[in-house]
Amino acid sequence: MDKHYVFIAVIISFAITFSLRAVPFLLFGGKRKMPQSIEKLGKCLPASIMAVLIVYCLRDVGDSFMCRGLEKVLAVAIVAVVYKFPVPERYVGKNARTMLSIVIGTAAYMAFIHM
């Protein structure tokens, strides 16, 4: 493998990825103030992005729904149920609740696909 090629490829990828991450800061850094519309967009984007990311994680669900797809959907349902399970806050704190639903959901999913 040609080392020069690999290094240049890495540098190109790094430069592009970093620039993309930095774009908003270059546009609205320092003295230039962010337009209100963009500021508002930034505030309400997290909820939308989380929704988009979930759909992204489940994008292959439709491929073979009765087999792989159903397992994933079920596991997501388990995560939600564990998270929403009505246990008072003093027994299970917020962080513990988050961890529990992730661990149980993931364990369930791994069990499903290895069965």
Partner: protein, 231 residues
């Protein structure tokens, strides 16, 4: 520190195993662990790193590599939008820290740090400290996994497939948390509808970016309209 570590645990589980898979794939393609480490440290982005292996081993042109990186990672610009204020504030104290936060923005750190920045009970300083540690640890996990995968991949092999589901689970939990705290569910609902429609129309491989662009446009129009109603 302790709290930040706890918050980063879901990232740890998925990153270590996913980047191990990456290290193994690199080793198979003839790149040793230090290449995996180099890429994981500099480029540091999930899906693209896997595609990058294929591109490099097939000797793809620099233009192809650049274009693929651009298309696959454009979504990160949207993530940064949320944190412009926060990171600029961090930058007042330390420019280096700000650059570090920008460079380490990924799907997962974005998700966790959104949750952190929503915790209004904490002081801004505490929140920023936690965000930094989360970003720092996440990249450490990712690099450790890549190295382990590269070195041990050939020797040990065990079936950990499915572990990456913990990322999905994390997104679901954060989504639910945001849903509970939000007065207005419009952004979340638009996100779901638009991405499902894009998934059906554009297909699995390319729907992420169009979804984000369309969702952002709708939100901007929506915000502008709501503004004029209030006034």
């Amino acid at each position: 520190m302790k709290e930040a570590t706890i918050k980063s645990l879901p990232i740890m589980f998925s990153y270590i195993f996913v980047s191990m898979a990456y290290g193994i794939m690199m080793e198979d393609a003839g790149f040793h662990w230090y290449f995996s480490l180099l890429v994981s440290m500099t480029v540091y982005t999930g899906a693209f790193q896997f595609v990058f292996v294929t591109l490099m081993s097939s000797g793809a042109s620099y233009i192809t590599i650049a274009l693929t990186a651009f298309l696959m990672n454009s979504r990160q610009s949207f993530y940064s939008l949320t944190f412009v204020d926060e990171f600029n504030d961090i930058g007042k104290k330390s420019k280096l820290k700000k650059l570090y936060m920008i460079q380490t923005m990924t799907d997962e750190t974005y998700a966790v740090n959104c949750a952190v920045s929503a915790e209004k009970a904490k002081s801004r300083e505490d929140r920023q400290k936690i965000m930094f540690i989360v970003a720092f640890l996440s990249r450490v996990y990712w690099m450790i996994g890549a190295v382990i995968g590269g070195i041990l991949g050939q020797v040990i092999s065990f079936d950990m497939s499915g572990i990456d589901f913990c990322m999905t689970a994390l997104f679901v939990v954060i989504f639910l948390e945001q849903w509970e705290n939000a007065q207005n569910h419009f952004p979340a609902v638009v996100g779901i509808l638009v991405s499902v429609i894009c998934l059906i129309v554009v297909g699995e491989d390319y729907f992420l970016l169009p979804s984000l662009i369309i969702t952002s446009s709708i939100l901007m129009i929506y915000n502008a309209r709501r503004n004029s109603e209030v006034v």
